[in-house]
């Protein structure tokens, strides 16, 4: 086992990748040399030194995916790394997939688990079929792998004193970046939230929804809603509408309040734990839930909110 190339458009990937290498080491595969590639924008050499990276190649953050991939291609030719690693993100995947095409190498994205490693083959697991299944795949090295962010955290870092800096060779491209607009973060992204409080027709007025918002902010989550709230009553904008044709969510915890549990709504909820609060004991939401509370939300929510405040 020799060289690993870690590519990242952002520093987080380095940590993820080092964490992955740690697991790899546990499985008996050692790494001699780590080469890093990142954009000059996100390069904090002090942080990167701590990770044990020996050589760091930088590229202009205004480079396009094909330019970066072609630059990486040169590096790969030079160093012949056994593994090219990154954490899974839109940009990282795009660039590395381009590289894998240039190299005719296998590539696996969104790896959540390393099951087995031999000197020339890794066995990895990734989530497929919209999170309903997982796939176990074996890949011959050299290979390109992107891993699910924050899945692998390194426990001990072998810092290097000396890091060699260089520029990634870049060629011209026919793609021109015109403008980069950072995303405003106030836009709700319930599909990314770890905790979602879902509101339904059990709420009698728009004002009453503040109960749900209060609960959500206490839990550090977002508020989503069923169809009638967004579509018919328009109490909430459509980006909070959880439905088979609207937003699909994958939180750890989903708390459905005053939601009857129409399958069109529930099939868009893929949560680890589902809690339901509904006063109709026959409501079908209870068949979809882990924990059910048969109660009037107007009585139950204030009590729950108070308890959480005290914690």
């Amino acid at each position: 086992m020799s060289t690993v190339l870690i590519f990242s458009n952002n520093p987080q990937s380095f940590t993820d990748a080092i964490g992955f290498l740690e697991v790899l080491k546990q499985k008996g595969l050692n790494v001699d040399k780590i080469i890093g590639v990142t954009s000059n924008n996100s390069a904090n050499t002090e942080d990167i030194k701590k990770l044990g990276i020996l050589e760091l190649y930088l590229y202009d953050s205004k480079s396009t995916d094909d330019q970066i991939a072609k630059g990486l291609f040169q590096l790969v030719k030079k160093f012949s790394p056994n593994i090219i690693l990154s954490s899974s993100s839109k940009t990282n995947n795009s660039i590395l997939a381009y590289l894998s095409g240039l190299l005719s190498l296998p590539m696996l994205t969104e790896i959540s688990d390393l099951l087995n490693a031999t000197s020339d083959t890794l066995t990895l697991s990734r989530s497929v079929l919209a999170g309903r299944a997982y796939s176990i795949e074996s890949v011959k090295l050299p290979a390109i792998i992107t891993i699910t962010p924050k899945k692998f955290t390194p426990s001990n870092l072998a810092a290097t004193n000396d890091i060699k800096l260089d520029n990634l060779p870049l060629q011209d491209t026919t793609v021109k970046i015109v403008e980069v607009t950072p995303k405003k973060r106030e836009g709700v992204k319930i599909e990314d939230a770890e905790i979602v409080v879902g509101v339904g027709r059990g709420f009698k007025s728009k004002e009453d929804l503040k109960l749900a918002f209060e609960l959500a902010s206490l839990l550090g989550g977002e508020v989503g809603c069923s169809r009638p709230i967004a579509a018919d009553l328009r109490w909430l904008p459509e980006d909070r509408w959880i439905g088979i044709s609207m937003k699909k969510i994958r939180p750890k915890l989903y708390i459905a309040i005053g939601i009857s549990g129409a399958p069109q709504h529930m099939s868009a909820v893929d949560a680890k734990i589902i809690v339901a609060v509904n006063k109709d004991k026959n409501a079908s939401i209870f068949s979809y839930s882990d924990y059910g509370i048969v109660a009037d939300l107007y009585q139950f929510l204030p009590i729950l909110i108070n308890k959480l405040k005290k914690k």
Partner: protein
Amino acid sequence: MTDFFEGIKYFVFVQNLSFLVYLFTIIGAIPFCYGVYRSHKLWIQKGEFYSFDHFWLRLKRMIIYGIGNRKVLHQAQGGLMHTILYIGIMGLFLATILSGIQLEITMRFFHQEFLVGPVYLGFKLMANIAGILVIIGILIALYRRITRSYPYLPTTLEDYLILIDLLVIVITGFILDGANTWYYRLPWIDHYDLIGYEIALWLKSIYGYNYSAFQGVYTVIWLIHINLAIWSVAFIPYTKFYHMIVGGLFNTFFSRLEEPSAFKPIKDMDKKIEEGKALGAVTISDFSWKQRMDFDACVKCARCTNACPANASGKPLSPMNLIQTLKVQMHRGNFNGKLIPDVVFPQVIWSCTTCGACVEECPMLIHHVETILDLRRGVYSLGENTPSELQQVTYNIMRVGNPYGYDPMERKKFIDKLSTELGVEIAQEGKEYDYIYWLGCNASYDPNLQKVAYSLLRILKKAGVNVAILPDEICCGEPARRIGDEYLFRDIAGKTLENLRKYNFKKLLVSCPHGYNNFKKEYPLYFDIKFDVIHHSQLLNQLISEGKINVNREKIKYSVTYHDPCYLARWNSVTEEPRNVITKVTELKEMNRIKNHTFCCGGGGGGAFYDIKIGERISKLRIKEAASTGANKVVVACPFCNIMLRAEAPEYNLEVIDLAQLLDEASE
């Protein structure tokens, strides 16, 4: 007393002008005939002709619904007005015809009068009463127009002119009649010539016996009378009077004889597809001659619009306005222009729940829903102006066999449960069953409605009914048909029949009235159906009356109201069976709008899958009505009603249950 035998005096004072009546009548025939011919040209297109099949049945329907005004009295105030006017005008019409026959036939050819003596007295009395009725009718009509006491009744100048025209004809008629009585001094006639006699006395008080002084005035009044009368008739095809002929006679005689809820099939569908043509109606020329006649038959009475649940909930649909819009396009000669979206807004046709209230109410037997359906088929086949939610429904049906897109595996799990917990038999080929229970998509997948199927099967098992359920079901096709996807409907109906034909059973038991109507009335439009179809309310009623289900009233501690599903009550007249079942077990508190005049839950015609988001929800209006009865629960007999009303019920502290669940709870 020789006068006693004198009859009608024709053309008093105006003997020398009598030719005008003949002249005007002959000239008047021209616009009249042209008007009818013009309509004929609008209705009938190349390759079409009126249907004269089932002649006697058609005649009967014309007599009952047209001449007999059968449906006119459904609406009290307008019905009363119309009946009074109608009888009055018919009386006057008859009087005119009789006197004309006497003058031109019996006197001319046989020198005989028949309107003499007691007959003449009766004739006079009838004509007077008729005239009085017309005046009363006009007054009620004017009241309705001026006070706008009937909502959505469109009032234009024509409506007033017509009433004034009638009023002038009748008043001048009375004056002429009074002058007649005065001139001929017919004292015996006073009791019979009610108004005429009073006018005679009045004229006498002014003119004494100086008849010649009155002659000029008489002539003017006479000219007004005959002109208005003759030209009013001559121009019937151009005024709202035309409804008497097109609506009252033609449209009832030529009325569609098929079941009202067996919406017309597209007979030449494959040919049209082959030729790349749209299905249904995109332009006026795509409608049938009968539908175009419908447009002309509409007299804007607004009964449809007042009965329409979509309209009541503030949706942009008014069946009357739609028909009138199409009528205007037809009269403008716009036969080949696209109707949607410019002439008819898409929201109009997508507001319809196909509940049939308009069809139920229409005195002219217009089938609004079929016209709406044709328009839907038109846009659907073009893939334009169709809500994507509804396209998703047909896409789901096409891909996975149910409108919601549920995984068919879910149904398998449910029938396994029915089989293990209740011992329900899953149908096998070669075995004989009395009933196959068709669960339908709702009871197959929706957890709330699975409970209905569960209760129903538990009752049936207890009652020892030989029933089985199918190992596989796909959508029966009803939603696809109502949405306007006829091609998909025929495709899956064919597959469903193929599935059903594998099994040996007597009756298909259905707990969804939409499926019930579909199997019973619409499958035969394309296929040969050999089995009977029965709704679970009918079977449950039958089992109770046979003593196979024992109920204990004590078990039900609450009162209920019953919501008639459109597709059961209105379209299929099943209204007593569910009530019999309910009253066996608890108190039934009726709502105002019941049986064939039921309201709607908003779920039909695609409404369960798509809400137009304008105005109120129909379901909410209905649940309010249910709550006003003071009942604790709303009993339904339709899964769509169940879904729609259930969503509203908690706000009114009501619970929605199916008839089968009620009976299950009450059975011993």
